[in-house]
C-alpha cells in the first residue's frame, strides 16, 4: 500500500454516489486521466455516499453511519480522489463534527487520519502529481463555474482553471459573476424553489453571455442545476465535468 513499494501512486477513487449513479462518465474520465498520468487506480466497492445530503438537510444522525462507512472503506489508502469539490468539502468540514456528535473518540481519530488524504481531482493532479498540463486536447470555447463548495469549503482555489488553461486547443472565457452561487444548494432548490430558480436563471444568463460552447465545473450537481435550465432553454451549451475535459485527447475526444 505504501507508495515506497511502487513508483506508481495508488489512488482509491471515491466516485461519489450521484456520479456513480447518474454521471458515470465523470468517474470514468477520472480513471482515464489518472491512469494516463501514471497512477494505479482502484475502486473500493464498499463505498457509497459521504453523507452530505443528510447532514445539510438536518439529518446528522443519519449521516454518522456513512462517516463510519467512509473511513472503513478508505482508511487503508494513501490517496483518496473524488471528482467533486462538494463531497471533498463535506468530508473535510463535516466528518469530524459528525464523529464528535456520535460521541465516538475512536471514530474521531480515524476521521482525522483519513481526511488529509482526501483530494479533489484538481488538487491531486496539481499538488500531488505536480502536473498542470495533463496532455489533454479539447478544441472548444469553454467557460468555467467555480462551484461554491469547491472554492469556499474544499478551497481548491484556481487549480481547475489552471488545468483547463493548459488544455491544448481550449479557448477559456471568463464567466461573469463566476463566484456567485447557482442556486442549487441541495434541498434548498426544493425547499426554496422560487429563490433557487431566480439564481439559476441568472447563472444560465451569464453562461450564455460568454458565448461558450461548453460550461465546465468540478461538481455535477451544480451542473445539473445550471445545465437543467440551459437545456430547457435549448441554449445549445454543452455541460461537462472538469475531469471529462482533462480525459479528452486527440485519439479519444470527449
Amino acid at each position: 500500500m505504501s507508495p515506497a513499494t511502487s513508483t506508481r501512486p495508488k489512488v482509491a477513487l471515491f466516485a461519489t454516489c450521484y456520479n456513480d449513479t447518474v454521471w458515470p462518465g465523470t468517474p470514468i474520465a477520472t480513471v482515464k486521466v489518472l491512469e494516463r498520468l501514471g497512477c494505479e487506480v482502484v475502486f473500493p466497492e464498499a463505498q457509497t455516499c459521504c453523507g452530505q445530503i443528510f447532514t445539510n438537510t438536518g439529518y446528522a444522525d443519519e449521516a454518522i453511519p456513512l462517516v463510519r462507512g467512509f473511513v472503513d472503506t478508505f482508511g487503508g489508502y494513501d490517496y483518496v480522489v473524488a471528482p467533486s469539490g462538494s463531497c471533498v468539502g463535506a468530508i473535510r468540514e463535516q466528518h469530524h463534527d459528525l464523529a464528535e456528535r456520535a460521541g465516538d473518540a475512536a471514530l474521531v481519530r480515524r476521521v482525522d487520519t483519513v481526511v488529509p488524504k482526501v483530494y479533489d481531482i484538481s488538487e491531486f493532479i496539481i499538488d500531488v502529481l505536480g502536473v498542470t498540463d495533463v496532455g489533454a486536447y479539447f478544441p472548444h470555447r469553454v467557460t468555467f463555474h467555480p462551484t461554491c463548495h469547491s472554492i469556499r469549503v474544499a478551497h481548491v482555489g484556481d487549480r481547475p482553471q489552471r488545468l483547463l488553461q493548459s488544455v491544448r486547443g481550449l479557448t477559456f472565457v471568463e464567466l461573469p459573476q463566476a463566484t456567485e452561487c447557482c442556486g442549487f444548494g441541495g434541498t434548498f432548490s426544493v425547499k426554496n424553489p422560487d429563490v433557487s430558480i431566480s439564481m439559476a436563471s441568472d447563472k444560465a444568463r451569464h453562461v450564455r453571455e460568454t458565448g461558450a460552447e461548453v460550461l465546465v465545473a468540478g461538481d455535477n450537481m451544480c451542473l445539473m442545476n445550471i445545465g437543467g435550465v440551459l437545456r430547457r432553454q435549448r441554449a445549445g451549451v454543452r455541460i461537462m465535468h472538469l475531469a471529462e475535459i482533462l480525459a479528452s485527447t486527440e485519439e479519444d475526444p470527449a
Partner: protein, 497 residues
C-alpha cells in the same frame, strides 16, 4: 480576567417574537412575494452590488486582514467565555463615570425602563440614533403607546419611519427604496410632523439629504432626550461607542440633556485595545470605507459638556439563550456590519422583509432561530433559507462560520420536529440505501432500467416540490450503466487498458 475558568451558562429565556413579526409566513412564501417586486429587486441588486465592490476594494488594501478577523473573533470569544465578569466590570466603570446602569431581561422590561426614564424627564418626544437593539425591542412603538414621539434621525431610518415601512437591511434599512420613491415619501410625510419638504424637491440625493437635514434640525434643537444604541461598550473603561456616517448620531449624543443607550449584552469589548481591532474591521466590512465619518465615544457624565443624565440599559432578550449553545454562540460575535447581507445571493433577491425580523440575511438566519427558538413558521424555515454557498462566512469580519451554524440549526429543527414526515421517511430510505454498497448496487439497477426506458424524454408534469423543480429545468438522462457496473465490466475484461 482571562484566568477565570470557562463555565457553560445555563440557557436563559427565549426572546418573544415582537408584535410586528408575529404570524410571519415561512421564508419560502415570503420570498416568493418579495421576488415578484421588480422595483425592489432592481434597487437591491444595485445597492448590494455597489457596497460589495467597495468592501472588496478596501479589504484588499489590508495585508493582514485574516489576522485582524482572528483578533476580532478572539476578543468576542473572550467576552462570550466570561460574559458575567465583563458585564460586571462594564457596570462598575460606567457607574464610576456617572452613568446609571439598568438591566433588562427582555424587550418588555427594556421598554418599561426607557418609557419611565423619558416620562421622568417630562419630555413628550425623543430623538433617536439608528439602533438595532431598539428596533429589536420595538421601542418606538412602546414610546408611542405612551404618547411619546420617537424621531428617527438617521436618513434611512427616517425614510423607513415616514414610509410606515419596516427596515430591510441592518446598515441601510431603506435599501429597498430608490430615490424617486424617497422623494414621494418626503413630500407626503414630512409636513405632517414638522418642517415640510420644499415644493420643488427633486430626487437628486443632495436635495433629498438637504430636505431631511432641514427637517431634522428643528428636532435636534428642540430635543431634551436622545436614545441611542452602541456599537461597542468597552468594559475596561466604561465607554460606549457609536460609529456612524451622517453626524446625526453626534447631534443626538451631545445636544440633549438626557441620553439613554440601549445596548445588547454581546456588544461588550473586554479592553480599550480591542477597539483598535474593531475600528479597522467594522467600517471596511460595513460601508466599505477605510474609516467612518463620525465616531463618538462617551464615558459617563462630564460637567458642562454633553448629556448630564446618562443611562445605559443592558438587554438580554434571548442572548443568554444563544450563549448556552457552545456551537451556536458564535453568532453573538456579530457586530451588525451587514457584510453577510450584501454578499448573500439569497438576500440580494428577496430583501430583508422575508426574514421576519429586524435581523435579515445570513446572520438573521442563524440569530433569530436561536434568540426566538424554532417554534414559529418563520424561525423554523430560516436555517434552510441558504444554499450554504459560504459567501457570508468569507465576508464576515468576525469569522462567524454561518454555513456551519445553519447546518447545526437544521439538525435542531429536524430533531425537534421528529422524523415522522415525508422528508424524514425519504431521508431514512436514503440512509438505508447508502448503508450498504451491495444494496445500493441493486437499487442502481432500477435506475439504469429507468434510463433505458426514458431515454432522453422528460418526466410528465408532476405536482409538488419536485414538479416545481422540473417546471424550469430539464433533468439529466439516466445512464444505461452506472460507474460501478462499468468498473466491474472492466475488471472482468482484465482491468486497466
Amino acid at each position: 480576567m482571562t484566568a477565570e475558568p470557562l463555565t457553560e451558562p445555563t440557557a436563559g429565556p427565549l426572546q418573544a417574537t415582537s408584535p410586528t413579526f408575529v404570524g410571519m409566513p415561512k421564508f419560502p412564501y415570503a420570498a416568493r412575494t418579495a421576488l415578484g417586486n421588480t422595483q425592489q429587486r432592481r434597487n437591491l441588486a444595485h445597492a448590494t452590488g455597489v457596497i460589495r465592490a467597495k468592501r472588496a476594494k478596501v479589504v484588499a488594501e489590508i495585508d493582514r486582514w485574516e489576522e485582524l478577523r482572528q483578533a476580532g473573533a478572539d476578543a468576542k470569544d473572550e467576552l462570550l467565555g466570561h460574559m458575567a465578569a465583563y458585564l460586571e466590570q462594564l457596570e462598575t466603570n460606567l457607574t464610576k463615570g456617572g452613568a446609571t446602569v439598568h438591566w433588562a431581561r427582555d424587550a418588555a422590561e427594556a421598554n418599561r425602563i426607557v418609557v419611565d426614564l423619558v416620562k421622568g424627564t417630562g419630555a413628550t418626544e425623543v430623538v433617536k440614533v439608528k439602533s438595532m437593539a431598539t428596533q429589536e425591542i420595538e421601542l418606538n412603538e412602546a414610546l408611542e403607546a405612551e404618547g411619546i414621539n420617537a424621531w428617527e434621525t438617521d436618513l434611512a431610518e427616517l425614510i423607513v419611519q415616514f414610509g410606515h415601512d419596516r427596515p430591510s437591511h441592518i446598515l441601510v434599512p431603506a435599501i429597498h427604496r430608490n430615490r424617486s420613491e424617497i422623494r414621494e415619501i418626503f413630500r407626503k410625510e414630512m409636513g405632517l410632523v414638522g418642517r415640510p419638504a420644499p415644493d420643488d424637491l427633486t430626487d437628486e440625493p443632495k436635495r433629498l439629504a438637504e430636505a431631511a437635514r432641514l427637517h431634522l434640525r428643528e428636532k435636534f434643537m428642540r430635543a431634551t432626550v436622545a436614545i441611542s444604541g452602541a456599537n461597542f461598550a468597552v468594559a475596561e473603561t466604561g465607554s460606549l461607542v457609536v460609529v456612524e456616517s451622517e453626524g446625526n448620531g453626534r447631534m443626538c449624543l451631545t445636544l440633549p440633556d438626557t441620553l439613554i443607550s440601549v445596548v445588547g449584552i454581546e456588544k461588550v469589548l473586554p479592553t480599550w485595545q480591542d477597539l483598535g481591532t474593531f475600528m479597522q474591521l467594522l467600517p471596511r466590512s460595513s460601508t466599505g470605507e477605510r474609516m467612518n465619518p463620525y465616531t463618538s465615544i462617551w464615558s459617563g457624565v462630564h460637567e458642562g459638556d454633553g448629556p448630564q443624565n446618562v443611562h445605559v440599559v443592558l438587554i438580554d432578550n434571548g442572548r443568554t439563550h444563544v450563549l448556552a449553545d457552545p456551537v451556536g454562540r458564535e453568532a453573538l460575535r456579530c457586530i451588525r456590519c451587514s457584510a453577510c447581507l450584501n454578499t448573500c445571493p439569497v438576500y440580494e433577491r428577496t430583501g430583508g422583509h422575508a426574514y421576519g425580523s429586524v435581523y435579515p440575511g445570513p446572520i438573521g438566519a442563524i440569530l433569530n432561530p436561536q434568540l426566538r427558538g424554532t417554534a414559529s413558521d418563520v424561525d423554523k424555515s430560516l436555517p434552510f433559507a441558504s444554499t450554504l454557498c459560504g459567501a457570508c462566512f468569507e465576508a464576515c469580519p468576525m469569522r462567524i462560520d454561518i454555513p456551519k451554524l445553519l447546518v447545526h440549526l437544521r439538525a435542531k429543527v429536524v430533531d425537534a420536529k421528529g422524523r415522522n414526515t415525508v422528508e424524514g421517511r425519504a431521508m431514512a430510505a436514503g440512509a438505508w440505501a447508502f448503508g450498504d454498497a451491495k444494496r445500493l448496487a441493486r437499487l442502481q439497477k432500477a435506475s439504469t432500467l429507468g434510463g433505458k426506458i426514458l431515454g432522453n424524454r422528460q418526466l410528465p408534469a408532476l405536482p409538488g416540490a419536485i414538479g416545481q423543480w422540473l417546471s424550469i429545468r430539464d433533468i439529466p438522462e439516466l445512464p444505461a450503466q452506472t460507474f460501478r457496473q462499468w468498473w466491474a465490466d472492466r475488471e472482468r475484461k482484465g482491468g486497466a487498458s
